[in-house]
Symmetry: C2
Subunit: 556 residues, 2 copies
C-alpha cells in the first residue's frame, strides 16, 4: 500500500531547512533572554510560534508539531520521530473509533511478523520492486550472519498472503477479513516531514479476501466511508471521495478508492487514505483459490482488497486547523478538551482563600469529568496567567476556562474558544450541560470553516489557460479529462515551471511544482460543460475526448 | 526488561520435536482418510487433539495452539509466529483493561522508534551487554550501506531515556509516566515456543520517572497489582506476588517485583510479568536530573521504573486451562463466549421449518448480543452436529448452546459448559439473564480450580532431602533461604540430575532440570519454622541463616 505520495521539491527542501534554522535560532535566543522573576522564581522561557503560517508554511508546521509537544525528532537516526502523548491520544481515539466500526463489519484482528524473507520476496517481484529501494535489511543477529537475509515489512501483502492461501480452502472460509495495527518501515531517501513522510510510521492495514468482485467492491467503499469518517467526524477535516486514475492507483492492484484532502495555506492536495481492490492479481501470485460454489469442480481465484490509514492523518489535521498561535485541536480528539487556569491568585492571597479556590476548581473538574469532558487544571507556580494562556493555546486545547475571585463572586466561569478566540461566561451550575455543547459547536464550526475553504478552492476549469493562474491562487482544479495515463503525465509536465524563482524572497515565491491527478470524484460537478465522449480533454495537446471531471492539483 | 526466562533443556527439545512429528503425521493421516459423505458433500477432515496433556505436555501444547487457530508457525523465518484472531482478541481485551487502569493512574501513551543506533547503544554498555547476542542489526537500506548500523529494539530504555533527560528539566516535570504497546525483537538461539519464547513478541513497556524512591516504589506495586489482575481477573490464572532475588532481578535495575504462575501438568513455575524499580542507575547513565525542590541548587537524579507484560500471558493461560479436547477459554477473554449449534435439522427438514429455526436462533443471538454476550451460530453445511461440537470444544468456547425442534417445543435451549462438561437447559425467556450468570460462574470456577491446584502444589519444605521428591511430585517449594546469590546458584546445581534418563520412555522420564528461585513471596507462610537470622538456610552446604521463605521450582 502506498501511504506517502510525492512530497518535496528543491524549493520545499530549502524552506524546511530555513524553518529548522529559524526554530533553532529562536530557541537559542529564548534561552539567552533574561527572564522576568515572578514570586522569587525565575520564569521559564516561553517561545511562541515564530513563523507565521502564511509566510513560511513549512517552517510554521515544523515549529508547531515540535513546540506543541506532538513529536520529537529522533536525533539518533534521521527520518524517525517520537510520537508524544498528545499525538498518541489522537491516534488512540482514531483507533478505537475505526476498530469498533470494522469489528461491526466482521473484520478481525491479527498480528503478522515484522519480517519478510528474501525468498518470499522474490516470489512476487512485481509488487515488491516498487518498495525495493526502501527496504531495511537484517543480515546479522548478534554475531551471527543469517542464512537468508530478512527485510522489515514496508507493507504486509507478502507476509500475509501465503497464509491466506493456506487458510482459505473452501468458499465457506470466505470472506476472510483481517486487520492489523502496527508500524512499517520505508527507508525513504527523500526529505522527511513529521507525520507526512517518515521512515517508520504507524498505521492499520486491512487485508481481505472475497468470493466475488462485487463483494470485494462493496467493502472497498464501506472502508472508504470509514476513512472519510475519521477525517470529517473526528478530525473536522473535509475530504473528497473518489477513484484514483490508472497512473495513481496502487501498483499491482485493480483499482483504488481514495479520500483527498486540501491544505488551504498552500493550495496543495493531499492523499488522505486509500482503499484498494486488488482484484485477482495477488490471488494468482499466491495461488489463493476455492472451488466455485456455482460451478462444481472449477476453481476460482479469490478477490482481494487491502486498505490502510496512517498517522499521516494527524499531520493533515495540524496543517488544516493550526494558526499563528500554534495547534488548534478538534475537541473530539483533544487529550485535554478544557483547561482550567486560576486567575487573580498571587503571593498576597491568603492560604485559606487559595485553598478554597483550588477546591472550587477541582469540584468543577469533577463535575465535568462526570459529564465526559477531559479537563486539566494548571496550578504551576512561577508562571503568569498570560504565560499559561499562550502555552495552552500553543498546544491547541479547545476551551480555556479562567476562574478568579471575581468569577467566584458571580458564580460563573469565564471561557475562551481556541478556534475563534470568542469569550464569554457560563454559570457554574450550567457547566455540565454547557461545556459539552460548546465542545460540539467548536467541532462543528471547525469542520464548517475547513469545508468552506476546500469547497471555495475547488475550481471547475474549462479553459487550459486558466489552469496555472487558478493553481497559483491556491486552488485545486476540476477539469474535463480523457483518463489516459500518458496525457496525465503530459499535464504534469505542462504545468511545471522551469524557472524556480531562486532569487525571489521566500514569501513571494511562485511554486514550480506541476499538478497531478488527485482523484476522479464520485460526485461529479453539475452542469453541461462536460458531455462524456464528446467534450474535448482539457490538455491542449490531447486529441481524445473527456470522460470525467478529474480533480488535479499541486500536491504532497 | 526480561520477558522470557530460561526454557528448554535437551529433553524438552526432543519432546517438542516428537510433538511436531506426531502432529504432522496425524495431519497427513487425516488427509488420506476417506471422509464420510454427507448431503452429497465430502465432509471436511476433523483432527482432534492427538497428544494427551498428561503424557506429552509439550506436544499437547503445540498441537492445541495450532489446531485451535491461535497461532500459525511462520514458515519463512523460524522463531516467528502469526497471532490469529482468537489470540488477538485476548490480547486486545488485556490491552483495553490495562490501558484503562494505567490511564487512571496518570500514565500516558507514546510511541518511540523501532531502532537504536550503535552510537547510543555504546553509551550504556552494561545494560545492553545482556541483549547483545540477540540484537537484529540493519546495516543496509535498499542498496545503500548505512553510515551507522542500527539495531531493532529488544526493549526501549536506550531509545527513550535520552528524551527523558531532555524533557525533564524541573521537578515540576515529574512524574513522567509513559507507556507504549509495540513489538520487540530478541533473536534467541534457544528453541522457541509459541507465546512463551518467540523472536518477536507483543508487549507493553512502561517507563516512568519520579522524584523520590518512595514514589517510584509505590508505583512498582500498583503496576504489579494490575499484572496480577490480568492473570486473575481476566485469564482466571492464579499468581504469587513477590520480589525477585538479586540473581533473578532485572540486570541494571534496583529491585524487581514479579507475579509468578504455575503449570500443574509439569509442576513448573513460570514468570508472569515483572515490575522493576531501576533506582537511579539509568538516570545516572543518561544524566536525568532535576533541582532538588527541598535543597536549592542541589541536583538529584530521578528514580525510574520500567514494567512490561507480554503475549506470554496467553501461553500460560492455555497451559493452565486446556485439556485433552483442546483449548478452554475463560469467558471474559473469549472472542466467542457462546456458540449456537442447530441440531435435529437435516436434508429432510422442510425449507420453511429450517428458515423458522434459523430465525429463532438469530433472535436469541440478538437477545444475547444486547445482554453483552459474544455469540456465533454455526450454520456450516456438510458437517454433523457432533463434528461441530468437537470443533468448538477444540477452540475453547465456554458455552455450547444446542437448539433443535425438541428444544423449540419446550421453549428451552440446551447448554454444555466447556470447562466441566456439565449440561442443562435454560428457558428461552431467561437467556438474557442466565447466560451472563453462567459465564461468570465458569470464569469463577476456572479460577478456583487453578487456584486450588497452585495452592496444593506449593509445599513448605524444611528438610533438604524432601526437596527433590517434592519437585518430582510436580510441586514448587517454599524453603528457608539466606538470599545469597552464590547459595542460590549452588542450590540449582545440587538439584540438577546428571543422569537424564535418555533410555526411559517419554512419559516415564524424570526431569533433570535444577530448581531456581521464583520469588520471595510478599505473603510469607505462617508458622514458626523460620525465625529470620536464626533458622539455618536449607542448602546443606550453606552456613548462613535463613532470611525469608523463598519459592523455588523447576521453571520456564
Amino acid at each position: 500500500m502506498d501511504a506517502a505520495p510525492e512530497l518535496s521539491k528543491s524549493a520545499l527542501k530549502k524552506a524546511e531547512k530555513q524553518a529548522h534554522l529559524a526554530a533553532e535560532k529562536a530557541a537559542k535566543a529564548a534561552k539567552k533572554t533574561a527572564l522576568p522573576v515572578v514570586g522569587g522564581k525565575k520564569m521559564d522561557e516561553i517561545i511562541g510560534i515564530t513563523n507565521p503560517k502564511d509566510e513560511n508554511f513549512s517552517a510554521w508546521y515544523q515549529e508547531v508539531v515540535l513546540k506543541a509537544e506532538m513529536v520529537e525528532y529522533y536525533q539518533e537516526i534521521s527520518g524517525f520521530f517520537v510520537l508524544r502523548p498528545l499525538s498518541m491520544h489522537i491516534w488512540g481515539t482514531i483507533r478505537k473509533w475505526f476498530s469498533g466500526h470494522i469489528e461491526e463489519l466482521g473484520v478481525e484482528e491479527a498480528s503478522f511478523p515484522l519480517f519478510l524473507s528474501k525468498t518470499s520476496l522474490d516470489k512476487e517481484k512485481d509488487h515488491v520492486d516498487g518498495f525495493a529501494p526502501e527496504l531495511a535489511w537484517v543480515e546479522r543477529a548478534g554475531d551471527k550472519k543469517l542464512d537468508v537475509p530478512v527485510a522489515i515489512r514496508p507493507t504486509s501483502e507478502a507476509v500475509m498472503y501465503p497464509y491466506y492461501a493456506k487458510w482459505i480452502r473452501s468458499h465457506r472460509d470466505l470472506p476472510l477479513r483481517l486487520n492489523q495495527w502496527n508500524s512499517v518501515v520505508r527507508w525513504e531517501a527523500k526529505q522527511t516531514t513529521p507525520f507526512l513522510r517518515t521512515r517508520e510510521f504507524l498505521w492499520q492495514e486491512g487485508h481481505t479476501a472475497h468470493l466475488t468482485e462485487e463483494l470485494a467492491g462493496k467493502e472497498v467503499l464501506e472502508i472508504l466511508e470509514l476513512y472519510a469518517g475519521v477525517y470529517e467526524q473526528l478530525l473536522a477535516v473535509p475530504v473528497v471521495r473518489g477513484w484514483k486514475t490508472e497512473n495513481e492507483k496502487f501498483a499491482g492492484g485493480y483499482y483504488t478508492a481514495t479520500v483527498e484532502g486540501y491544505i488551504p495555506s498552500n493550495g496543495r492536495g493531499i492523499q488522505g487514505a486509500t482503499s484498494h481492490c486488488l482484484g485477482q492479481n495477488f490471488s494468482k501470485m499466491f495461488q489463493i483459490t476455492v472451488e466455485d460454489p456455482h460451478n462444481k469442480g472449477q476453481h476460482v481465484h479469490v478477490w482481494q482488497n487491502s486498505w490502510g490509514l496512517s498517522t499521516r492523518v494527524i499531520g493533515v489535521m495540524v496543517m488544516v486547523h493550526g494558526d499563528d498561535k500554534g495547534l488548534v485541536l478538534p475537541p473530539r480528539v483533544a487529550q485535554t478538551q478544557a483547561i482550567f487556569i486560576p486567575v487573580g491568585i498571587n503571593k498576597n492571597t491568603k492560604p485559606e482563600d487559595r485553598q478554597k479556590h483550588e477546591e472550587q476548581i477541582e469540584d468543577m473538574r469533577a463535575t465535568l469529568k462526570k459529564a465526559g469532558v477531559r479537563t486539566q487544571s494548571d496550578w504551576r507556580e512561577g508562571y503568569t496567567p498570560a504565560w499559561k494562556f499562550n502555552d495552552w493555546e500553543m498546544k491547541g486545547v479547545p476551551v480555556r476556562l479562567e476562574f478568579g475571585p471575581k468569577d467566584a463572586a458571580k458564580e460563573v466561569v469565564s471561557y475562551a474558544r481556541r478556534d475563534t478566540g470568542e469569550k464569554g461566561t457560563i454559570p457554574i451550575a450550567d457547566l455540565a450541560a454547557k461545556i459539552p455543547e460548546l465542545l460540539e459547536s467548536i467541532q462543528a464550526d471547525m469542520y464548517k470553516k475547513a469545508e468552506a475553504a476546500f469547497r471555495e478552492h475547488r475550481k471547475k476549469i474549462t479553459k487550459w489557460e486558466d489552469v496555472l493562474p487558478t493553481l497559483d491562487e491556491k486552488n485545486v482544479v476540476l477539469i474535463p479529462f480523457c483518463l489516459d495515463g500518458k496525457c496525465e503525465d503530459r499535464i504534469k509536465e505542462l504545468t511545471t515551471r522551469v524557472d524556480d524563482n531562486r532569487e525571489v524572497p521566500e514569501n513571494q515565491k511562485v511554486p514550480s511544482m506541476g499538478m497531478k491527478s488527485l482523484c476522479i470524484p464520485f460526485e461529479q460537478p453539475d452542469g453541461d460543460e462536460l458531455v462524456p465522449g464528446e467534450t474535448a480533454c482539457l490538455n491542449p495537446e490531447c486529441f481524445s475526448k473527456a470522460q470525467k471531471w478529474v480533480m488535479f492539483g499541486r500536491s504532497y
